[in-house]
């Protein structure tokens, strides 16, 4: 496996370029990346299993905490599946409010991404600027929902808080301010030569590759794949809103930046339409605690791409099975392709460009061999990993003794 001029460096689980614990093992020849092995699972908490022991309402708050950046995506996706099972008709006004929060979330997430991307290419001023402007959105989210992150606005059958005329005014005012800032960032991204030079041609993913590797969200759209659940399979209030699916043909990190920036403008226009057209009426309906038996699959366009939740119920107040497929899991395979034959220095920005969220991704996956699935006990798995590391020359036994 190791030939003489191949060189492996580990990055992670704790590394300044990574915001979450994950680990990459990079095979290098000189500065050139030959291949990347990605190891996930540091963030695996066992949420899907925990859902089976909690009621639907509790699960909603638990699933919201899969990931704090796209928390509303996960809770809405789950709630939609449960509502489908219970066959309830959610009031229009509630759907509008959900969509409104969803778009705020997209804006805050894309702003956050822009800052992190700036940081990864050594442009810290951009980080500070975007995070300052992001606070405008955070303030609105805090007034509308009561919390800055993990909004907890959904409930099965609707939403928990209404919006008033005062809120509407505040939102529209803030949108003015944001529009000005977003246009400024678009101007920077399209005219600033350092950014264009640094990002162009980095992390290429062609149209064919994006389709083959099943990329989703802005990663796919930057390779010209016009995939957007909001358009393809409208949920909440998206069916009544006019908006465009932004695509780009650059196929590189620069394209992904442009797509996200233009999506910000789309989000602003969506929010304006929502606020101006929000219907009157109740914001939630009562749903019995026991959900009829059945199964449902729900799709949702999170800021990072398509999020899928599968719920199976057995007629009690607790689900039988919940399965989550977060967008980063779909995109992470593409990262291997993007990094191949690139320079080592490109790695942080290429990884950041899919806007990875590893707390979303760290779900349990069982590998099925031809003989069928196998189950490994936790302790066996742990022993196996310790042995594996020992074989590769990493041994913590001494250290563990010292720490014990």
């Amino acid at each position: 496996m190791h030939n003489s001029d191949e060189f492996r460096i580990p990055i992670g689980p704790q590394h300044p370029a990574l915001k979450e614990p994950e680990s990459f093992s990079i095979a290098l020849k000189g500065e050139k990346i030959l291949g990347v092995d990605i190891r996930l699972g540091y963030n695996h908490r066992g949420i899907e299993k925990a859902c089976e022991e909690r009621t639907y309402i509790q699960d909603m708050y638990l699933l919201e905490r899969i990931c704090g950046i796209c928390s509303h995506s996960h809770s809405t996706c789950f709630v939609q599946a449960v509502e489908e099972l219970a066959s309830v008709q959610v009031p229009k006004r509630a759907l509008y409010i959900r969509t409104l929060i969803a778009e705020f979330e997209r804006i805050h997430s894309h702003f956050l991404w822009l800052g992190v991307a700036g940081h990864e290419i050594g442009f810290d001023t951009l980080l500070m600027y975007t995070w300052r402007d992001r606070e405008i959105i955070m303030d609105i989210l805090a007034t509308l929902t009561g919390n800055r992150v993990n909004y907890g606005i959904n409930t099965i059958g609707g939403v928990r808080r209404d919006i008033t005329d005062d809120h509407k005014r505040q939102i529209l005012e803030a949108m003015e301010k944001l529009e000005e800032r977003i246009n400024y960032y678009i101007q920077i991204a399209t005219q600033e030569t350092t950014i264009i030079k640094r990002l162009s041609g980095v992390g290429m993913l062609t149209y064919e590759e994006a389709l083959k590797l099943d990329a989703v969200g802005p990663t796919a759209r930057a390779s010209g794949v016009a995939r957007d659940v909001r358009k393809d399979d409208p949920y909440a209030a998206y069916g009544e809103i006019v908006f465009n699916v932004i695509t780009d043909s650059h196929c590189d990190v620069y394209g992904r930046t442009v797509v996200r920036l233009k999506e910000l403008l789309e989000s602003l226009s969506i929010i304006r339409q929502l606020v101006n057209n929000i219907p009157e009426g109740p914001i939630s309906v009562r749903v019995p605690r026991k959900i009829p038996a059945g199964e449902a699959l729900s799709r949702y366009e999170a800021p990072r791409g398509e999020d899928v939740h599968y719920v199976r119920s057995n007629g009690t107040e607790k689900p039988d099975r919940v399965k989550v497929r977060a967008p980063t899991l779909a995109n992470i395979q593409a990262v291997k392709q993007m990094l191949k034959d690139r320079q080592l220095a490109d790695m942080p920005i290429v990884v950041a460009a899919i806007d990875p969220c590893f707390s979303c991704t760290d779900r349990m996956v069982a590998m099925k061999s031809e003989k069928g699935a196998s189950v490994i006990k936790w302790q066996e798995l742990r022993n196996y990993s310790i042995e594996w590391y020992k074989k590769h020359g990493v041994d913590f036994t001494e250290l563990n003794k010292k720490l014990a």
């Binding site: 704790q14 905490r65 899969i66 955070m138």
Partner: protein, 148 residues
């Protein structure tokens, strides 16, 4: 306390360097920690600087419950920090396990793996709470200095 120690401690109080480690958090506490470092809340005005390696850091800021896979790493990072070192647990799940208590891959709060000096509750802990916590930590250091 000798003169050199006095100066070192003064430096530590005026400019504590922190290392941020996510031990299985949902990211919300992490983005709130970063928000605390950026212009609106700007915790750098207390001299707090984010560092990339445990060997440079005085304070380890942890978010999230301890998952079994991350436990060894967390202990190693703590080992690598130079004395005196402090650990701040940010968020309810770092304090006690929070919503994830009882999940099969969760050991518990940060204090089940390493000693913690300061707990900041909240899900997620808001930037204001984080600033309040950090200031309290610095104050307690100052008091300690006064006593010695």
């Amino acid at each position: 306390m000798g003169l050199v120690d006095c100066i070192v401690n003064w430096g530590r109080i005026k400019s504590p360097w922190i290392l941020h480690f996510n031990s299985g958090a949902c990211n919300a506490c992490d983005i709130e920690i970063i928000a605390t470092l950026t212009p609106r809340y700007d915790i750098e005005r207390f001299g707090v600087l984010l560092k990339g390696t445990p060997r440079h850091a005085d304070v380890l800021v942890c978010s999230g419950p301890v998952t079994f896979q991350v436990e060894d790493r967390l202990k190693r990072i703590y080992e690598q920090m130079a004395e005196p070192k402090f650990v701040v647990a940010v968020g309810t799940c770092a304090c006690s396990g929070g919503v994830f208590k009882g999940c099969y891959n969760i050991k518990g709060g940060i204090n089940t793996a390493i000693p913690v000096s300061l707990y900041i509750p909240g899900c997620p802990a808001s930037p204001k709470a984080i600033i309040d916590g950090v200031v309290k930590l610095l104050e307690s250091l100052e008091e300690k200095e006064g006593k010695e």
